[in-house]
Amino acid sequence: MWAVAAVAQEVQVGAFVRLDHYGGVAEERLYSNDRVRLTTLSQLEAYDQAGFWSALLEVVAHLQYDEDGFSTAPGGFTARDIDNLIRRAYVSLRFDAFDVDVGKKFVRWGKVDFLSPLDVINHFNVDAPALVDLFEGPRADPMVHVTAYPTDELAIELVYVPMLAPYLVTVDDIDVDFRFGLLDVDMGFRNRPPEPYEEFAHSVHGAISYTTFLADLQLSYSYFRDQILDIDLSDLKERIGTFHVIEGTIVPAYRRAHNIGLGASIGLDGWVISADVGAKFLADNLDGSRIDTKNPEIRSVLQVDHPFALGDQQIFTTAGVIHRLVLFDEEAWESEYSPFLESIIGSLHDRELFQDEPSHWYLIARLQTSFLREQLSVETTGAWGITESALHLAPRASYAISDNWSVAAGANLWFTLDGPDSTKVGLLRRDDAKDNVFIQTTLHY
C-alpha cells in the first residue's frame, strides 16, 4: 500500500465486514448452505489527480462455520479460492479519446436489470440465478477492455478475454459403461469444481453505445467461449446387438458462440422503458440441427421502471417480461445414435441445459420503498416462470443504524405452482434445499 501511495496522488481505502446467517426453511430438508459466515471486502483504489491512471484492488475473504466446522467458503482453500479472494483487480489508463483497462473486472452490457441477453462477458451462476444478490452472482474475468469515445455521445468498446473461468458449477467427466442401463445424468457430473484458467477462451466482444436526449442505445456482438456449461458427447459410443452397450466419456464443454444484441432505454414522462434483444448461436450448431449440443436461442427482455407516489411514500417499481425462444427442429436433428440413446441425450440436455421447450416466458417485478428518510429500506423481487410454473421470491429489508452500520434480513424462496417439488429444469430451478432465510449486519468503512 505504501508503494502505491508513493506513486499515487490519491489513495482511497474502502471496506466492509458482514456477518450473516443463512438457514434452511424446510424442516425436513437440510439446507446445503446452512451457515454463519463472516465476509470482509477490502477495496484499495489509487489514482492520479490528473486522471491519467487509476488502479483498483478488491479482495473478498470469507470465514464460514457450517456443519463441517470452520472453513473458508466455499470448500477448502484451493488455488481456486485464491481466484475467489481477488474479486477485482485492474489498472485503468485514461487518454483523451479512449480508455484502456487491463485486469480482472466486470463489464456489464445491456439496458435491463435482469438477465440481459447482451450481458455475456462475465459468467453467471446458473444454478441460483442471482436476481438480487449481485454480490454473490457474477464473477469478474481477466480481460483487456478498450473504450474509444469519438464524441461525447458515442462509445465504442472492445473486450478481449483470454482465459476460461467459468462459475462455480461443479462438473466432472462421466465415464459411461452401461449395458441395458439407463444413464443417470446426475451421476458424477457435478462433483468437481473446475480450476479456473486451465483453458484459453480467446473471447472477443464489441459494443457501440450512443446516448441521445431521449434514449440510450447499444449494439453488441460477441464471438466467445460461452461460460455456461455444455457437454461433449463425441466420445460416446454405442453398440446395438445382443447386448445394448453404451460406453465412453461424457465431458463438460464450453463451446464457442456468436451473440448479437441490441438494447435501448427511453425516458418518457417519469417512465423508463428498457428493452434488450439478443440472439446466441453456438458456432457448431448454428441451425439447431444437432441433438448433442446446445441450441441457438433468442432472448428478449422488456422492462419498465416507474416511481409511484402513494401519499408521501415513493414506491419504485420495476416490471419486466422475458421471453426465451430456443431454436431447434426436432425433425431435422441429425445423429448417428439410436432412438434409445437420442432419448437419453435429449434428457441430459433437457435437465442440464433447459431446452425441453422452444418457448419460455417469465415475469419479473420489483417493488422498493424506504422509510425514515431512507434509513429503512424494504424491497421485494419476484420472478414467475410461466412456462415452468415456478415462482421465485426474494424479500429484503435493511435498516441503517448509522452511516457505517446497517442490519438486513431477507429470504430466497422458490415455489412450483404445478409440477415436481424439486427440479433442475429452468432458470427458476425449484429445489427446496435452496430455500433460505438470512440476517446480516454490515459495517462499511
Binding site: F16, Y47, S54, D152, D269, P307, R373, E374
Partner: protein, 257 residues
C-alpha cells in the same frame, strides 16, 4: 432556489440598478441571471436532521456547466457515507424540450441506469427535504409568475407555479413564493405549498458566494413544516473560474471521478 436557470438573455439587464415597472417575469429572469455562472464546481455537504435530532450527512463533489443557451449539465459524485461512495448522478437539463435526461451510476451493480423524474418532483433526493427536481435547472417557460404585495419593502415577492395542473403535479408544488432582494436580485427565501395548497417547506439562503458578477448560494436550509425535518446544504470550495471539461458530463465520467 439553490440552483439557477439559464436565463442568459437577460443577463445584461441584471446589472442595471434602477428599476421601473418591472413585471414578475423580469424580476425572475434577473434573479436567475445573477446565478448564471457558466461553470460552477464545489464540494456539497447535505445534512439531514430528523425531529428527534438524528442526523445523516451526505457529501458529494458537484460540477455544473452551461452547454449553450438551451442546455445545462450537472454531475454529483458521492463521497460519503461509505455505503454510497462512488455513486454518481448525471443530469442534462434541456430548456427548450422542457425535460431532463438523468443517469445514475450504481457502483454495487457497476451499472449506469437511466432514470426519469416522475411526479412530485421525482421524490426526495437521498432522503433529504430537497426533491430531485429541486436539484436541477428550471425551464422558466414551464412556470408562470405573478408579483405579490410585499410586507417588507426590501423584497420583491413572486408567486411562481407550473403553467398547467399537470406541470404542478410533476413539480410537486401547487405554488411557491419567492422572496427576492430588490437591491441585488438575490433570492433569499422560497416558501413551497403542496398540491393541496398547504404550507409544505421553506428554503432559506443563509450565505452566498459572489464573484465575477454572479452569485451562488453556499449555505441553504430547507425546513419541512409538515414533518419537522430540516435539510441543510453547504457548498465549499466554490469556483466559477475552473473550466470544467465537457467530457465530465458524460456517462464515461459517471464511473470515475
Amino acid at each position: 432556489m439553490i440552483l439557477r436557470t439559464a436565463a442568459l438573455l437577460l443577463a445584461a439587464l441584471a446589472a442595471a440598478a434602477p428599476l421601473a415597472a418591472q413585471d414578475a417575469a423580469d424580476i425572475s429572469a434577473r434573479t436567475d441571471a445573477r446565478g448564471a455562472a457558466p461553470n460552477i464546481s464545489g464540494l456539497l455537504t447535505l445534512t439531514i436532521t430528523a425531529p428527534n435530532g438524528d442526523q445523516r450527512v451526505i457529501s458529494a463533489d458537484s460540477y455544473q456547466k452551461e452547454r449553450g443557451e438551451e442546455r445545462e449539465d450537472r454531475l454529483f459524485v458521492f463521497t460519503h457515507p461509505p455505503n454510497v461512495r462512488g455513486m454518481a448522478l448525471l443530469v442534462h437539463s434541456y430548456m427548450e424540450q422542457g425535460d431532463d435526461s438523468m443517469w445514475i451510476y450504481l457502483p454495487a451493480m457497476d451499472r449506469i441506469k437511466r432514470v426519469d423524474l416522475g411526479s412530485s418532483g421525482g421524490g426526495y433526493f437521498l432522503g433529504s427535504d430537497f426533491t430531485f427536481r429541486d436539484m436541477v435547472s428550471r425551464d422558466q417557460t414551464e412556470y408562470e409568475h405573478a408579483l405579490l404585495p410585499a410586507d417588507d419593502d426590501a423584497y420583491h415577492v413572486l408567486e411562481v407555479r407550473g403553467r398547467t395542473p399537470e406541470l404542478r403535479r410533476v413539480f410537486g408544488y401547487s405554488r411557491e413564493e419567492h422572496f427576492i432582494r430588490k437591491d441585488n436580485f438575490l433570492r433569499e427565501r422560497i416558501v413551497f405549498y403542496d398540491l393541496a395548497g398547504d404550507l409544505l417547506k421553506e428554503l432559506i439562503v443563509e450565505e452566498e458566494y459572489e464573484a465575477d458578477g454572479y452569485a451562488f448560494p453556499t449555505r441553504l436550509k430547507m425546513l419541512n413544516h409538515q414533518t419537522g425535518h430540516v435539510s441543510e446544504i453547504l457548498f465549499e470550495d466554490i469556483s466559477f473560474s475552473a473550466d470544467i471539461p465537457d467530457r465530465f458530463f458524460t456517462q464515461r465520467y459517471l464511473r470515475r471521478r
